[in-house]
Symmetry: C2
Subunit: 196 residues, 2 copies
Amino acid sequence: MAKILTSKNGTKKEVIIQKAALLFKSKSYTAASMRELAEALGVEAPSLYNHIGSKSELLQAICFRVGNKFTLQIEMTKSNPVAVIAKIEAVIRFHIQMMLENFDEVYVANHEWKHLPEPFLSDFLNIRRGYEKSLTDLVETGIEKNEIKKTNPYVAVLTILSAVRGIEFWQRNKKNVSQQVLEDDMVNHLLNGIVW
Amino acid sequence: MAKILTSKNGTKKEVIIQKAALLFKSKSYTAASMRELAEALGVEAPSLYNHIGSKSELLQAICFRVGNKFTLQIEMTKSNPVAVIAKIEAVIRFHIQMMLENFDEVYVANHEWKHLPEPFLSDFLNIRRGYEKSLTDLVETGIEKNEIKKTNPYVAVLTILSAVRGIEFWQRNKKNVSQQVLEDDMVNHLLNGIVW
DNA sequence: GAGAAAAACTAATAAGTGTTAGTTTTGCAA
DNA sequence: TTGCAAAACTAACACTTATTAGTTTTTCTC
């Protein structure tokens, strides 16, 4: 009889969520079965239900954890008394860090939120809309203060968020691109462009 | 007994593929069932098999159709004797147009290619890698010719492709952003940045 | 209108799904 | 060592899945 291994700093539920994020990332939420998840944990599927309520609960935990982290960070950034450009730069760098430190969870939140049941789906979308709104406000303020060129703020936010999200395609081991280069070059590209 | 309606310019198989793209987009490939697809077409599920070979075949048709369109376009762009910047601009604008004219298919190709069975999965990834390689070459040439700032070409391509892909989040009916503004502002953002 | 081909149907299959019930084993506290 | 709770197990259920077989209906061609 196998047992779910709990590392020092995590409950069994936490271990399950982490494995679920890994599995949902590689196979997608719907295609990943509880039996597969159990096997990855060295256990039979029904045993999982001693620790969790349902498969859906795992997705919820992942999505809201990620959503809240991003929301918390942008709230802190907003109240930080620096130039708007510096704030936007901070947001971009935070996205890149999140992508590197919590890749599985961020990936799943980005790709599988569709499978959240109501009312969680609506809640999640509200969180995301709130985040986008915050960033849009930031860009608008930047334009007013003449730190940013006159452009459509919605399009600017769309461009920025899409670009940072795309880091999921980054191949960590492409030896000639370090994290620092990735961060610096992307920030530079999004703020200053690539044309002279 | 219902029948699959074929519009003037499409076989029944084509109609099925289109509906499949719409369904796979909204529910994801795995979560969408053949029974749902059949119902959307006003028919019973087994009837579909008079026109198609399998569910997987539908995904293949969608993914490769999209992949080939993008590949064809970048090949044409490469051989077009204009400045590198103009080529990159053309690529960006083509992505936006594709997103608007073939939204369902592009979305599905971007999100559901993971569920392609081998050897189609490898084929698809090769097509995508080839596309990225072409664009990277373009950026490198631009740097050599001093049209583009010195930056990591891989990061630049990642930023550009991610940004244009993100148009899938664009809300068509956000009344204050026309397609023209979206296109122009995004091109401008990616080439010239948003900072003065 | 007759015959053939296309395309719909119903019925069924084998496999896989999340989850529950009930039972046994494990590990800790006394 | 005993007793209890946590957590594993096996067996099973009620559904859903893509797909096949076999049959009937529709549509096209002559």
